[in-house]
């Protein structure tokens, strides 16, 4: 009997060993990496990410991830961080030029070989939304962590939301600023102050020919004007959703820009055709540009020394809004991709959304870089409590940039 019990004991022991070996064999890849990872990300609330949860049951899977040119480092970093946690996932990053991207992407999404996950911009909503799968995160949960979510909800689903906000700012050449004897104390907060600073930054030769424009809006007048109407409390759309341009606010804005050239002489309609490029080329001391220009200027004109300050207002009083803004969108998920791939893409989106510490580089990349915008009152994102209620009306199209924003 004793002998029989001993044999049974050994048999059970062996069975246990075999069983344990099987389990550990399946989860081995995760165990090697999870030791260095927090069990559950505490940065998202209530949207959370559990890095210990295996994706695709730990089986190998490959995804194609499309994005447009300009932020390869961020996408590579995201892919590296994610695949470090989930080594069974291979992310093939595919970079496309901006212009081609919006033709290639919807056509690729129509077929079976489109990207599983892709970078997205809300100005392409109509062409892309039909190919996007909804997030597996409830809008209500997302709303607790991000602003403006309600503006993106479609029939109870969320397909993308904003991870950052972009608006316009005044860029200035710091070398020219210093050469004109200006300091940080001279940063203008009103348009009258701005005009005086622009005059100081303007250089003409002996014959009166413009050599350096204090300010230029050439080639960018539309972007400059549309948004400054908010400084006078004038919306771009009427309550019945009709656009309004012929109003006193718009006339004030345009007249001021005209006066800068025609009265103050700080620029000229024929002095350069693209104020952004001309700023980079050293022809212009100040210009109004959107946040993405920080990245463009740094890439195209690496020697350029520049900074930026908040757009001045008509008076010292805080205006209704300084300018308009637009959201930078989170990634889209291809609804035509294999369901296993979609599930991984959902996991990547959740990983991205909950990982604030790592993703904070993203809004900085696409909006404004902190080092260049120390003086901004409107700055980095984004807890819902910090936003003006006006955001809750939605973010499509030109809407005022709320004045209540403060860094987290």
């Amino acid at each position: 009997m004793e002998k029989k019990l001993s044999i049974l004991f050994v048999f059970v022991l062996l069975l246990n060993l075999v069983a344990w070996n099987g389990v550990s064999g399946q989860e081995a890849p995760l165990e090697t990496t999870q030791s260095s990872t927090n069990p559950i990300s505490d940065l998202g609330n209530p949207v959370q990410y559990d890095p210990q949860k295996p994706v695709n049951d730990g089986n190998d899977i490959t995804l194609e991830f499309w994005y447009w040119t300009g932020a390869a480092n961020l996408f590579q970093s995201l892919a590296d961080q994610y695949t470090e946690i989930h080594p069974n996932v291979t992310i093939n990053l595919v970079e496309n030029p901006w212009n081609d991207y919006w033709t290639k992407l919807p056509l690729a999404l129509q077929g079976n070989d489109g990207p599983v996950i892709f970078n997205f911009h809300n100005n392409q909503h109509d062409n892309i939304i039909g190919y996007m799968a909804p997030y597996d995160i409830s809008p209500a949960d997302l709303e607790a962590d991000f602003v403006g979510v309600s503006g993106h909800v479609i029939e109870g689903n969320i397909y993308y939301t904003d991870y950052g906000l972009m608006t316009a700012t005044i860029y200035y050449n710091t070398d020219m600023w210093a050469a004109a004897g200006l300091t940080d104390a001279d940063i203008p907060t009103t348009w009258d102050e701005f005009r005086e600073v622009a005059k100081k930054l303007t250089i003409r030769d002996d014959k009166g020919k413009l050599v350096q424009a204090g300010f230029s809006f050439n080639g960018g007048i539309q972007g400059d004007v549309l948004g400054m109407n908010y400084q006078y409390g004038q919306n771009l759309f009427t309550s019945d959703n009709k656009i309004t341009l012929n109003n006193d606010a718009m006339k004030n804005v345009i007249q001021r820009l005209k006066d800068l050239y025609e009265v103050d002489g700080v620029g000229d309609y024929n002095f350069g055709n693209n104020s952004g490029d001309n700023f980079g080329q050293g022809m212009v001391a100040m210009y109004l540009g959107w946040g993405f220009m920080t990245n463009s200027l740094s890439q195209n004109f690496p020697d350029l020394q520049f900074n930026c300050f908040e757009i001045p207002a008509p008076t010292e009083a805080v205006p209704y809004a300084y300018h308009r803004y637009n959201g930078e969108s989170t990634f889209g998920i291809n609804k035509n991709a294999a369901i296993e791939q979609q599930n991984v893409a959902q996991d990547i989106v959740r990983f991205f959304l909950t990982n604030y510490k790592k993703s904070s580089a993203w809004p900085m990349q696409f909006s404004r870089q902190k080092r260049h915008c120390k003086l901004m009152r409107i700055s980095l994102p984004y807890r819902v409590s910090l936003f003006s209620p006006i955001i809750s009306t939605g973010i499509f199209g030109p809407v005022p940039c709320p004045v209540q924003l403060k860094p987290m």
Binding site: T103, D126, N127, Y269, N270, N273
Partner: protein, 297 residues
């Protein structure tokens, strides 16, 4: 019998016949696939709200066609196109003929060099030429203002933007006309000129009374080819002005490009394309009619 067979089947071997058939089938397939079907598709699509990116294809009836004829932008673009085409054709013919006549002259040396020089812009890609001219037109450091001692913002002043595009086009294209004219000049009957000289006709009289009438078919060819080509111009507009300032350099083909490949409004773009197609067809038919009447007379 053998003679009859040879007449009916000039290709002797079976492999030659198979090869011929393959080539013909491929050519027909190519033509059908890349010309006939797209044209039919565009015609059908012109009656639809058609956005290939959204797989949108909704029947609209004649709405797109009505929109074409009631669009102010279409008519202003058409006007710009007519002005552009007529000016460019006129200068292309005049400059091409002048250059050809000069090179035809016995007093000019190094003819090959000049021929090559004048023809080089023609074989240079338009995109590259347009980018170079973008710099030439620059109001700050542009060569044109510097050479002429003027201060004009060529591409961003409504008065000069379209003329700037015309200047670029003439510079690029007159070499083509020159080469064609030069070939025709060499083929003109010498005895006519000898007779004219004996009759005491001067150089100017020989040019006006003899050369130009004899070159009429060549002139007509260049005019027709140029008009067809210029009604399809959009590259210099895209590179230099994007239709601006405002819409002052909108040419009709650029408008089609904008509608189709920027707004992805393929239905409306197709209707626009067919209107332009019909316009060019009428223009070409009219030119051939004039040509035929003159040949008969």
């Amino acid at each position: 019998m053998a003679l009859i067979n040879r007449t009916r089947h000039p290709l002797r071997s079976r492999s030659e016949i198979i090869f011929r058939n393959i080539v013909i089938v491929l050519l027909i397939a190519f033509f059908v696939l890349f010309f006939v079907l797209p044209i039919i598709m565009a015609l059908i699509g012109s009656f639809y709200q058609w956005n290939p990116l959204r797989l949108q294809f909704n029947f609209l009836g004649l709405d797109n066609w009505k929109k074409v004829f009631t669009s102010k932008l279409f008519w202003s673009s058409m006007w710009h196109t007519v002005v552009f085409a007529l000016a460019a054709v006129a200068f292309r013919v005049v400059l091409g003929l002048a250059a050809a006549h000069a090179l035809y002259s016995r007093s000019i040396k190094h003819k090959s060099f000049y021929r090559t020089l004048y023809y080089l812009p023609t074989i240079t890609p338009m995109v590259a030429v347009a980018f170079v001219w973008k710099f030439i037109f620059d109001p700050q450091f542009g060569l044109l203002n510097h050479l002429l001692g003027i201060d004009i913002n060529w591409l961003f002043d409504g008065k000069y933007a379209l003329p700037a595009i015309i200047i670029l086009t003439i510079w690029k294209d007159f070499g083509f006309a020159m080469v064609i004219f030069l070939g025709s000049l060499y083929s003109l009957p010498k005895d006519c000129y000898e007779a004219a000289e004996i009759d005491g006709a001067g150089a100017w009289q020989r040019l006006v009374k003899l050369t130009i009438p004899l070159l009429r078919p060549t002139i007509l060819f260049i005019v027709i080819v140029s008009l067809i080509s210029y009604f399809q111009t959009y590259i210099p507009v895209m590179v230099l002005t994007q239709g601006g300032p405002g819409t002052q350099t909108y040419l009709v083909t650029y408008m089609i490009y904008e509608e189709a490949f920027v707004k992805y409004n393929f239905g409306y773009a197709s209707a626009l394309s067919f209107v332009v197609f019909l316009f060019i067809a009428v223009l070409t038919g009219f030119s051939f009619k004039i040509s035929g009447e003159r040949s008969l007379s």
